[in-house]
Symmetry: C2
């Protein structure tokens, strides 16, 4: 059965009942969206402040490969398994973007028997958060060009607008455009472009804000461009945009409650990019979950070099969170891929390639254990092609590093298939052996922060940047050295080069561009070219998606 | 108190309770969106088929003036008043667009004590219908450029793409743009532009479709452009886009149930433009309301020349509806404005100007009574500046035309202020004196249809078109003569010229352009320049909109 077929057979509980019986939340604190999705009120969350926090478990992964690792399914499977063991557990996931569903990738609410439902809703409009973020973003865009059109009191330089437009659609034709054509009634012509909504700074801001007040302040701090001649920064607050933007986002800030196939509670809330942003679900949702449950399982985008680092140095630092343990997800197939095996040969046993590819896992494991001081267990997401010899080899190699391998079968078996992992995670989290620390000091110069990440986590020998980016970092350090850095590099390698699999060392990380996200309060160091607007493939997934006369959707994977 | 302050003081009933007790709808047939909005299932509506239909009352108006007429408030006030008289009544309104709230105009859910609530929700994201329509529209746009990028199997001419993009934002800079710049990776450069979502043909299609099946068929019939060299039409179905588009719209097709300030049920569903589209709420909502209530009050965009004509010749014709009576809304102020009085002098009594401006009302009244054969009552939306002499004059003039004037005070008093109107409407609808007919035959040539509308309703002597538009009409008549026509002309005058107030005669309606809406199944005759993307004013309303720490929105009018 396909993911959507499994999802459509799920016996969901009315979300109001689930919230009441499993989390003790009375119906008046929830805004239902249909019978199986609900938004939790911020007032209610504020009222939980005095409760103790549960344990926070981060699920991360090796560097992604075409073989697929299954970080989200492991997060869901682990959450279900913990609940099966009688541990009161919540799962916190990111919201999938809608656009990519019509391209190649399909849904992002888990897979197999480790899914979050209602799957179609979550993957399509869900509760409208992406739409709200898109409108809030584009309102600011419209106000910028409108300001220039009506006399440009602030003297904004149309050549230095730093705020693009966004749309939740894979639409390459909108990457580079010219707007304002057609004469005086339509404003001034200038270059512009659209990013997808996940790449909007508004998304990052929403995910890092703990209250409407903080959200509005951060929105006001968005840098929209620079003045002509004197190059002074202009912010969204200079256009009086933040109030209306926050009004558009007031519901989007409330976490969305849904459930797994096994009827366990999940927050699916916020979906920022993991390259130009921090790639984690919302602070509001994670904090609420820690008050509502004894264990909270969450994930972060891409591999541990990007996702876990940003989870820790951006999200945890900003929100005052402390993780209690980490699950590092890998597959035998993916490790063989890191060892140089082409996709079509991944089915065959290959111990040599597995050992070669293991270096990728080893580097991530070392980083988590040694750099962040966090206990870590390795979850192997089982495929039928995995051989006993391969698993045995992996176990030995991981044990040499002071960690454990647990083989998981949640994709095929649901929570039952991840019970071993759950037991290990409980032991790890309850042992309190975390010696957690951030990777760098908050007040270090931005250049040093980037260098620390590159050398300590990526195995780089050094970092480099052209003179403009270097000057920009120096200038930003004067005022914004307390900002964390957000590295935007390829997710496929520890280096700049996506083809360098495994665990490259001695490379130099080159910084191409620096983008301050003033509202989100981090500085993005762009290494290599980052795609913030995907395109559709030759035969888009959209062509196979359909809905029957009864409203049942097919072809969404 | 401002509209939003009145709205925020409303004592709303939980929508599930209201549906159950007032309409007999069990909770399982509703998808709640929060506690005060819900979508009604299409299955449930299908199950109502055997019930008799209630009476259908159309609220329309004189030609709009800067003074304001109050068509929506009269619709709401009349609905409340009918319910006060013990008549089981539903109201059917259009959904407001979000974008204009940030420009000049503010909300569109009634006003004063004749409002639909929750006002902020209805005016902002509501239940996400506009967002869904925008995404479905833009998915087709992306698939068009993607098709061209990946080899252009259909040989689509990039210079003849008939499908723009849409956004729910007043953003003049997006009216005329060039997309696909930046090199081979981004496709082929071509001219394009954005319309607001209300102007999307997808909106018109959604509002005219009675089922998901019909919706999908119509989406597939959308004309996206023409082939190069041989100029053959290319449709959305040729790109296999209709299934995914319909999947995105499956929830948007369900009518939204909300309530008035007086807790009476309202469907607010669908919001197509009233110039390039038909300007009425959805067929699904109107049909469902007729099954659920004994009286259904609905409105159509702009004056009766545009709104009522399209309501009858497009919506009623397509959906098999028969109105039972019409309310024609006017104000003393607006009629004086038609009589040539400038806005700042409208407060003063001016019988001469009122008599001069009355010709506008008289023409609309004649049209409704004589051309459509429908009984009609004139509702005067009361302002404190109206004098007894003015009202007396109006009464006499209207009675000479075989109709009645009823003075209404719903804005200040709610339903109580429209009870006289309600009594008159009940008498009119129950008398069964309707001698209803469409204005033109379904199979008449398109040219003749336009000429009939212009000469019979607008007082025009003739119609004219340049050779291209004329040829296009002839060509379209061969295949699409069964399509109704949709006149896109200024709403401010019976003529092409917005400055010709009152009731001009003998003018010639010139057709500038013809646009077939293949999916919506009508042919748009564009007379004059139509604005399908508004701009923001110098000081946009957005600057004053805010949300406090508790989520309460202010500054939205």
């Amino acid at each position: 059965m396909s993911d959507i077929e499994i999802a459509q057979k799920a016996k969901m509980l009315p979300i109001i009942d689930l919230a009441k019986h499993r989390l003790g939340i009375a119906p008046e604190h929830l805004d239902p969206h249909g019978h199986y999705k609900a938004k939790l009120s911020l007032d209610y969350i504020d009222g939980l402040e005095d409760r103790p926090n549960g344990k926070l478990i981060l699920v991360t992964a090796i560097s992604p490969t075409p073989a697929g690792e299954g970080k989200t399914t492991t997060t869901v499977g682990l959450g279900d398994a913990l609940n099966r063991l009688g541990k009161k557990t919540m799962i916190c996931l990111r919201e999938p973007a809608l656009g990519p569903c019509f391209g190649v990738k399909g849904g992002a609410a888990g897979g197999g028997y480790a899914q979050v439902v209602p799957m179609e809703d979550i993957n399509l409009h869900f509760t409208g958060d992406f739409h709200a973020i898109g409108v809030a973003h584009n309102l600011l865009s419209a106000m910028i060009d409108n300001h220039i059109h009506h006399g440009n009191r602030l003297n904004l330089d149309p050549r230095q607008i730093a705020w693009k437009r966004v749309i939740d659609m894979n639409d390459r034709a909108l990457r580079d455009i010219v707007i304002g054509l057609g004469g005086t009634a339509n404003g001034f012509a200038r270059e512009d472009g659209f990013d997808i909504i996940a790449a909007s700074e508004v998304m990052a801001i929403l995910c890092l804000s703990s209250s409407l007040k903080e959200l509005k302040e951060r929105l006001g701090n968005i840098l929209v461009g620079y003045t002509r001649f004197d190059n002074k920064p202009v912010f969204a607050r200079d256009l009086n945009a933040q109030g209306a933007m926050a009004a558009l986002l007031k519901d989007a800030l409330r976490p969305n409650l849904v459930q797994t196939l096994e009827n366990n509670p999940v927050f699916v809330h916020g979906g920022p990019f993991a390259n130009i942003a921090h790639g984690c679900n919302s602070v509001v949702a994670t904090k609420a979950a820690l008050k509502l449950a004894d264990y909270v399982v969450t994930e972060a985008g891409f591999g541990a070099d990007l996702g876990a680092e940003k989870f820790i140095d951006i999200k945890c630092r900003k929100a005052g969170l402390r993780p209690d343990g980490v699950v590092l997800v890998a597959t035998v197939r993916a490790l063989k891929s890191h060892g140089g095996v082409p996709v079509k040969e991944l089915q065959q046993e290959n111990l040599q390639a597995l050992e070669a590819g293991f270096v990728n896992l080893a580097r991530h494991l070392d980083n988590v254990q040694q750099r962040f001081g966090l206990p870590c267990v390795v979850a192997i997401n089982h495929f039928t092609s995995d051989t006993d010899a391969e698993i045995a080899l992996l176990k030995r190699k991981v044990e040499e590093k002071g960690s454990k391998v647990i083989v998981c079968r949640h994709w095929a078996e649901g929570g039952k298939g991840a019970e071993d992992l759950a037991r290990e995670v409980v032991g790890m989290a309850d042992a309190g052996q975390s010696d957690f620390s951030f990777l760098y000091e908050e007040r270090a110069p931005l250049w040093d922060k980037i260098k620390t990440i590159a050398t300590q986590l990526y195995g780089a020998a050094d970092i480099t940047a052209d003179i403009k980016a270097r000057q920009q970092l120096e200038r930003l350090s004067e005022e914004y050295s307390h900002f964390p850095v957000c590295i935007a590099k390829t997710q496929y390698s520890f280096s700049n080069d996506p083809n360098l699999k495994g665990a490259p060392s001695g490379h130099v990380l080159s910084i191409r561009e620096v983008r301050p996200s003033h509202g989100a309060e981090f500085v993005v160091a762009v290494c290599g070219s980052m795609m913030t607007m995907p395109g559709l493939p030759k035969v888009p997934a959209a062509e196979a998606i359909d809905v029957d006369d009864n409203g049942r959707i097919t072809g969404l994977f």
